[in-house]
Amino acid sequence: MSETEVPRVSDRWKVAKEYAADVQGLIASPFADLPEAASLFLSLPENAGGSWLHALRQVIAVTPALGLTDPSIALAFTCSGLRQMGMDEAALGSFSREFREGMHQIDRSRRLGDDDKTTSIPGGPVWGGNTFDPYGKQATKTPVTVHAVLLLYAKDISSLNGLIAKAEHALSEAGVIVSHRVDIQVTEREHFGFADGVSQPILYGPAIVSGPGTESKWHRIPAGEVIIGQTNAHGDLAAGPIVAEVPEKPTMLGVGNAPPGYRDLGRNGSYLVIRELQQDVAGFWNHMDTEAAALGGGLTGEWLAERVVGRKIDGTGLLPETVLHPDSSVARTVNEFGYFNEDKDGLSCPLGSHVRRSNPRDGLARTQDEAHALVHSVNSHRILRCGRKFGPPPADPRQQDGVARGLLFMCLNTDIARQFEFVQETWLLNPGFATQADEVDPLMGPKGRMSIPACPFRHRPKIETFVKFAGGEYFFLPSLSAIDYLATL
């Protein structure tokens, strides 16, 4: 598939004018035109307040969704960060449970599959928010405590370095430490070599100006799935945090959807999920080769890897040839397909492959009548991905070079439980997903069998885990006015 066939997210829709100056640019675009980037994970001093944001603002400004600018900047906070800045417990209590508890809360960690030693890096994840948990058991402590993340994007490495130096200087003046840093890039392929980022939801709603080619029934989701305050897929206004009005304090926050006596802190913001995932490329490919050879029949490592991922290496869907190359007309956009009519039994794209688990489209339907309703249901669980890769691409994918590389997975959503966690738990790690038994996502899950439907009967190789969790957290990505408010803390 060539790049032109699937327009980039930013080409398909824009944030409407009256919202664009307040919404962070990262929501509207993953800044693909700015290939060099760094994520600076920040630790704040005790009682940090909001003044460090003033100091930071002197040198760099968070980018609004007004259009592409070089450089671009995004900023988000963990719950422990907001607490450290002095936000009161009542306001913190108005954030969603997932955000308040953090990704490493003991039950959440279990449900996300992060308590499994084989799916985390040796010694366990390195960083997280270390959120204080007044109820239940204490979350697992990570060595590095992250209070906020500053994402910097630039055209080239030298301007990025300049930007980082400026930011670091201003931050250290304010007593803020960069406690963890991941340099990230835009690459055409993820490190295993697959074309990535093909399927992205397309937003619509009053806060969105839709571009051409956005009628797709497969990918349209209401803006409230990504932007707090807008209508979400369940027809509700996406809930966000509120703060009590204080008469003597400036009110840069609008009333929005807040009840009388409160201001809307969440409006035009979002929740940002970040997971640092290390990839063992040589391990993966050598394992694919070995397992494919064990299957016999001349199957190659590439063949198996494509089934594990659920797409061809070039990003094309694994669908019957008749679908991909219809005899008559011009091939339709390759991402506009369902599984129900084309590949119900998974003979082309295995039912348990990573791509099919991440977005089952209409594949979980039992009848044709259900198929349409099922797409609607599946689209109530989509996430807007904006992750990037870290580490250099491997010179030889089958040669261990000892270099750390992987994916800094990032996604935006407004209901972490119904979107990100649902995808992780109900689709990726669900051992009973789509008529399967005791199998999980072959790419992300712990090692296990993976059924690949075939004639006369399925293959069932054992797939090990080569993607490991190294750290992560849930962040609140505030609107620009909310950042102004936070600076007054």
Binding site: I106, D107, R110, R111, Y135, G136, K137, N232, H234, G235, D236, A239, L295, G296, G297, D345, A365, R366, E370, A373, L374, H376, S377, S380, H381, D415, A417, R418, E421, F422, E425, T426, N430, P431, G432, T435, A437, D438, P453, C455, P456, F457, R458, R460
Partner: protein
């Protein structure tokens, strides 16, 4: 093959509630630590009560009621043998538990005293059987599949998987040959493959299911038409016709005819305004027939039938309008008080195995019409599900093993139990996105439920409000048992298909290929 869903609900002496919880947790602890030769997890219960599929024991607290002890049981066969097996295993614990409960009044009292007296050795099963609360409506995912059969078929399924993994040479054969090869080996190890299984739904059950639904519909029609019959037999024909038309017109004006915002169609039915027009039409038609047949043709029989039709249409219209009156005035709890600690306990107990469990008790809204409709609604829904949901699917969801609703506290509260595959979040989202009408119908009579329309519309579609409402009504069970910790509803049905295939001596290639896809 019969399966039974029931629960026992007893009021607890408030001061003994924590002791009761400790006893129940003690049973759980013993089950989770006692090791035997085979499996160690809940082994004693698994082997001691082979009829049991799912069971929970919970002490539920409520600000308006004393705590209640709920024992929920889902098992194979009739209650007698099950209670005997359970008592045999837990006789001491059950007696101690009952001693924490309040002495019931009425006919249960003597039995209770007998069982709980100091040093008593009296059988507990008769009391539990007598104290049983039957569900108002229930759903069984794998209907007619006893646990014993699922266990056999699991072993067979695993056997087939192992052979396919270990014998790559089979890959070069046709599906028919693969089937034959597996069958030959399986027969030696699983001789039961040669014996026929009991049908999942027997002919007698099938007839009963149909008879129940038809009987229910006939009764519903009778109830709606009887007023017309009575009026017509006592008064001249214009009176029932006039009353019917007046009722319909009132209902029509109240519902504002077509101005009502269109609601999404329910299970293929047209939108409510269309239904109301239709019902109004029926009432008018009945009135015209009744008066016309009486005045001009002097056909008294036809006139009576007309009056009955008019009565049914008018009553339906009036009931719909009355429901609307009630629903417009219904307070809906937008922010149910969520006890964080309680919710943490629930979350900590969830997602440990393939299935999850939920128990919720809610208060019911007052009023005669509501009381009648919720009972009739659940009753009819139950008969409908017995016919409709036989292959594990409830609408497009195939995740529920056993679920039921039952009235407790003398009909003032509604209890819900479910044993389902996957996470609580995904279970509720399934309902919100795919089966909200049935759920709203069953739950919209609960105090504080998100605003519903005409009993079955909206309600559960208010995703977040509905989830909060459901969460706050739940309690983490002190004890919950699943007889098969890693089988989904789907997998149990899949194993049935695999076993059925192997029972057949030879399969032609097309059928064999279809069969092999299940492996």
């Amino acid at each position: 093959m019969r399966q039974t869903v029931l629960s026992v609900v007893l009021e607890v002496q408030p001061a003994s509630a924590s002791r009761l919880r400790e006893i129940i947790r003690g049973i759980r602890k013993a089950e989770e630590t006692v090791k035997t030769d085979a499996d160690w997890y809940y082994d004693r219960l698994r082997h001691g009560v082979p009829l049991l599929q799912f069971m929970s024991m919970t002490v539920c607290e409520d600000a308006q009621f004393d705590p209640v002890l709920v024992i929920e049981c889902n098992f194979d066969g009739a209650p007698g043998p099950f209670w005997a097996q359970l008592e045999n295993l837990y006789s001491k614990e059950l007696r101690d538990m009952l001693r924490c409960c309040q002495r019931p009044r009425g006919k249960l009292q003597a039995l209770f005293d007998h069982v709980t007296a100091p040093e008593s050795r009296a059988a507990i099963a008769p009391f539990l059987e007598a104290a049983t609360i039957w569900p108002a409506v229930f759903h069984i995912g794998n209907r007619g599949l006893p646990r014993e059969r699922s266990e056999r078929e699991t072993a067979l399924f695993d056997y087939c998987q192992k052979r396919l993994d270990d014998e790559p040479a089979l890959r070069s054969r046709t599906a028919t040959e693969v089937h034959a090869a597996l069958r030959t080996g399986a027969l030696a190890q699983f001789p039961w493959l040669n014996k026929p299984e009991q049908p999942q739904v027997s002919t007698a059950e099938n007839i009963a299911d149909w008879a129940n639904l038809i009987g229910f519909l006939v009764l519903a029609v009778a109830v709606l038409t009887v007023p017309g019959l009575l009026l017509r037999s006592t008064f001249p024909s214009w009176l029932p016709a006039l009353l019917g038309i007046l009722g319909t017109v009132w209902a029509g004006f109240h519902l504002n005819w077509m101005k009502d915002p269109a609601l999404p169609g329910l299970m293929g039915l047209p939108n409510p305004p269309v239904i109301i027009f239709g019902i109004g039409g029926v009432a008018l038609f009945g009135a015209v027939v009744s008066v016309g047949a009486d005045r001009f043709l002097h056909w008294s029989c036809v006139s009576t039938v007309g009056a009955m039709i008019c009565s049914a249409g008018a009553l339906l219209a009036v009931i719909l309008a009355w429901i609307d009156v009630l629903e417009t005035a219904d307070p809906s709890q937008t922010a149910p008080p969520l006890n964080e600690q309680k919710i943490r306990d629930q979350i900590a107990s969830e997602d440990r195995i393939t299935q999850n469990h939920m128990i919720s008790i809610v208060h019911l809204k007052p009023g005669v019409l509501r009381a009648i409709l919720i009972r009739a609604g659940l009753w009819g829904l139950g008969y409908f599900l017995r016919l409709q949901a036989r292959d594990g699917y409830l609408a497009s969801m195939r995740t529920i093993h056993f679920a039921h609703w039952a009235f407790v506290s003398n009909g003032s509260r509604l209890m819900f139990h479910s044993n389902f595959d996957g996470t609580w979040e995904s279970y509720l989202d399934d309902f919100i996105e795919k089966a909200h009408a049935g759920l709203t119908l069953a739950w919209s009579s609960g105090v504080g439920f998100p605003p519903a329309r005409f009993l079955a519309f909206e309600g559960a579609t208010h995703g977040l409000a509905f989830k909060n409402w459901a969460r706050h009504s739940m309690t983490a069970s002190q004890f919950w048992f699943s007889a098969y910790r890693d089988l989904t509803v789907n997998q149990i049905e899949r194993q049935v298909l695999v076993a059925d295939g192997l029972r057949t001596p030879t399969l032609p290639e097309v059928k064999a290929a279809d069969w092999a896809r299940r492996l």
